[in-house]
């Protein structure tokens, strides 16, 4: 496979995807989940099957006329109700109102989070993201600590960070789209998934770069171009890059298909991040390195 010759296609594809993701994030925005902004998610199911979303909404509005409520049917007789940050008293009141009207209800899940807890979690999440980026940067600095010629160590580092940004942007863009299309929210799980993607993305890229550096050293003084060395290195590590990611994708797909629905978007984010992380470690990071080196 001649990567360097076709680099513009590979890079172009990535640039288009990343730009699309950024546009999606900018125009559609990201919906914060209740754990980040406060609010209530209430999952209930009725024995009677003929309860509709609309009838639940109106039953709740009878209790509180201008109640801000979203009702969504998850399966036959089961509903997910989203409310603002309601207290325990209101919870009891609504629970009673619904069971009076539609018969016994089973509460599968009730979580109510106050706005202050949400803002704290947001702060914590920001710290976690910063700490992971810092930790990973330090790790890159360490991994490429030996000065290497002809490519300077820090260039590997920057190229790794750029592909990291690529790998994180695409799943975030996807979530913006899903938020608009299906009302999927960004919650703590999503942030954790992004952090995990960051960890994977970096290690893939480092494996490839390691090999490029090794081959640069071996071939020092010989008449061989940088492009050839990069191509050769990529092809050498291609099988293992793909196979290591593939095994991870296999379990992720198993979790997606057979796993609990509560983990669906968490797993999906990691899966998409892993796919593009593998792509970027092969098709983005090295061409970037090549272009940069050619320029200077």
């Amino acid at each position: 496979m001649d990567l360097i010759k076709n680099k513009n296609y590979f890079l172009g594809f990535s640039v288009a995807l990343v730009l699309t993701s950024w546009l999606l994030i900018a125009f559609l925005g990201l919906k914060p989940g209740i754990d980040l902004k406060g609010g209530t998610v209430w999952q209930i199911s009725f024995q009677k099957a003929d309860v509709s979303e609309e009838s639940i909404r109106s039953a709740l509005r009878e209790e509180e006329s201008n109640l801000d409520v979203l009702v969504k049917k998850s399966s036959e007789g089961s509903f997910i109700i989203r409310l603002g940050d309601i207290g325990e008293e209101a919870h009891q009141k609504y629970s009673k109102a619904l069971s009076d009207k539609f018969g016994d209800l089973e509460e599968k899940n009730f979580s109510s989070i106050g706005p202050t807890v949400g803002s704290e979690l947001r702060r914590k999440a920001t710290w976690a993201i910063l700490a992971v980026i810092l930790g990973i940067s330090l790790y890159i600095a360490w991994a490429f600590r030996k000065v290497s010629e002809p490519i300077k160590s820090w260039k590997y580092g920057i190229a790794t960070l750029i592909s990291l940004l690529h790998d994180v942007s695409i799943p975030t863009g996807m979530l913006a789209l899903l938020g608009y299309w299906k009302g999927i929210e960004i919650d703590t799980n999503f942030i954790v998934a992004l952090l995990v993607v960051m960890g994977f993305s970096v290690h893939d890229t480092i494996v490839v770069f390691d090999r490029i550096r090794e081959n640069l050293l071996i071939n020092r003084g010989r008449k061989i171009t940088l492009g050839e060395i990069i191509n050769y290195s990529i092809n050498e590590t291609l099988v293992r890059s793909i196979n290591t990611s593939l095994t991870l994708m296999l379990v992720l797909v198993a979790l997606l298909v057979f796993g609990p629905p509560t983990l669906f978007y968490f797993v999906l984010t990691i899966l998409v991040g892993t796919i593009f992380g593998t792509y970027s470690s092969i098709f983005v990071a090295s061409p970037l390195l090549y272009l940069w080196q050619k320029k200077s």
Binding site: I206, V207, F258
Partner: protein, 417 residues
């Protein structure tokens, strides 16, 4: 290493893994597995999380820790009263704020629990400034329910009305003595849960740490108050800011689905490894199964509370566990292409792949360590199992598969020669 010794090590590893497997999989052999049962998080076992904000504004900085600890003890006692098995009450700090998280496993009626916990009386004494027109102007003192040692019910000798006698501990007695000395001939207000219940006038300094609340109690309300005081008065006011309830069925369903997904994922990986790497794939699969048994046994023996996120983290680590094998096998192939004998190529493969294996796991370890230290609750479980899983898998993928290959492939090489 000579062959008999390798075979011995291999046997040992296999025995340990089998014991670990039997220990982890409960239905298999109860005698071994029951000595330490799995510890399941509330999202799998069903139950409620209640998070309370603790108002420490009236507590001096020095006393904070003891107040929070006292609060924890009191809530634990209260929760125990309505028979929840192993309630957990723990502190969570978020910047300036202090929170208490109460975990109630397998509880039927959460609203009752919330009432009970919230009903714990918060008693405090306030000074009444002269010309105060409403209770807002009263001055809070440091004397409150946390200094209460015990309470009894008694009856007024004249009116036969019930009253509540409270006894302060030594520290409380001192504060009470000073407070009464300062306020002789002035009223002193007694508040219960922010409601003024009584405002007796202090006649003289009261030593000995005993006070009487006469209020307008009925026999029942006085009794209830005494009971609650004896279970423990809250040393600081609390408010419920967050609650989550997961039904037991929902939890069980999630657990079953997660285990199924993990099993299918493992199976698919094994099939893939066998198709792609043939004999090597078989060894990698055996090492993978041994890894799963060992890691589960480690989780169980500590025990690490398994949450849904924790299981997800572990399943991810299964996907990553064969990575090390893939790196080794690919490297071995390369070495073989260079013309080494199979045995030498395998040894070289392990040696040369090790830096990549180490490096590639470090970034995941960094991420999970950060997640563990900077977060709480669900996320922590995920970070912990991912971290431990990756560490164990580094061991299993190297040690176990190398021993397997050395024992079984070395012999073949002799034949091949």
């Amino acid at each position: 290493m000579n062959r008999p010794r390798l075979v011995f090590i291999l046997m040992l590893l296999v025995v340990v893994a089998i014991v670990a497997g039997i220990f982890s999989y409960e239905p298999f052999w109860k005698k071994i597995s029951a000595f330490r049962p799995w510890s399941l998080g509330l999202d799998l076992a069903g139950g409620s999380f209640l998070t309370y904000d603790v108002d420490l504004s009236q507590v001096s900085a020095l006393d904070r820790d003891s107040v929070v600890k006292g609060l924890r003890d009191v809530i634990e006692k209260r929760v125990n009263l309505f028979g929840v098995s192993e309630p957990r009450v723990y502190e969570e700090r978020a910047g300036e704020k202090t929170r208490l998280v109460v975990e109630l496993a397998g509880i039927k009626d959460v609203s009752q629990a919330i009432r009970e916990i919230g009903a714990t009386p918060f008693l405090d004494f306030r000074e009444v400034p002269e010309n105060a027109t409403n209770t807002e102007q009263f001055i809070k003192t440091s004397l409150n329910g946390r200094y209460v040692k015990g309470a009894q019910i008694s009856f007024d000798s004249v009116t036969r009305k019930p009253q509540v006698n409270i006894e302060f501990n030594d520290e409380g007695a001192k504060i009470f003595e000073n407070l009464t000395a300062k306020n002789v001939d002035k009223p002193l207000a007694i508040f219960l849960d922010e409601d003024l219940i009584e405002m007796p006038t202090v006649r003289e300094k009261i030593g000995g740490g005993k006070a009487q609340i006469t209020g307008a109690f009925t026999l029942d309300s006085a009794k209830q108050l005494v009971e609650r005081f004896n279970a423990g008065a809250l040393p600081a006011p609390i408010t419920l800011v967050n609650q989550q309830t997961i039904s037991a069925d929902f939890g069980k369903d999630s657990l079953a689905k997660a285990i199924l997904a993990g099993a299918i994922g493992t199976l698919v990986i094994i099939i893939f490894m066998m198709i792609y790497y043939r004999v090597f794939g078989i060894f990698a699969s055996v090492a993978l199964l041994m890894y799963i048994a060992l890691a589960l046994a480690v989780f169980k023996i500590f025990p690490i509370t398994m949450t849904l996120a924790g299981i997800a983290g572990f399943i991810l680590s299964i996907g990553m566990a064969v990575d090390a094998n893939i790196l080794v096998f690919e490297r071995t192939k390369e070495e073989k292409r260079k013309g080494f004998y199979l045995g030498t190529a395998i040894e070289e493969g392990f040696k040369r792949a090790w830096p990549s294996i180490r490096d590639s796991n470090i970034s995941t370890l960094i991420t999970s360590a950060v997640l563990y230290y900077l977060t709480s609750g669900f996320v922590r479980g995920f970070a912990l199992t991912l971290f431990i899983g990756v560490v164990i898998s580094m061991f299993s993928a190297i040690t176990i598969s190398r021993t397997l290959l050395r024992v079984f492939m070395k012999g073949k090489e002799v034949v091949a020669k």
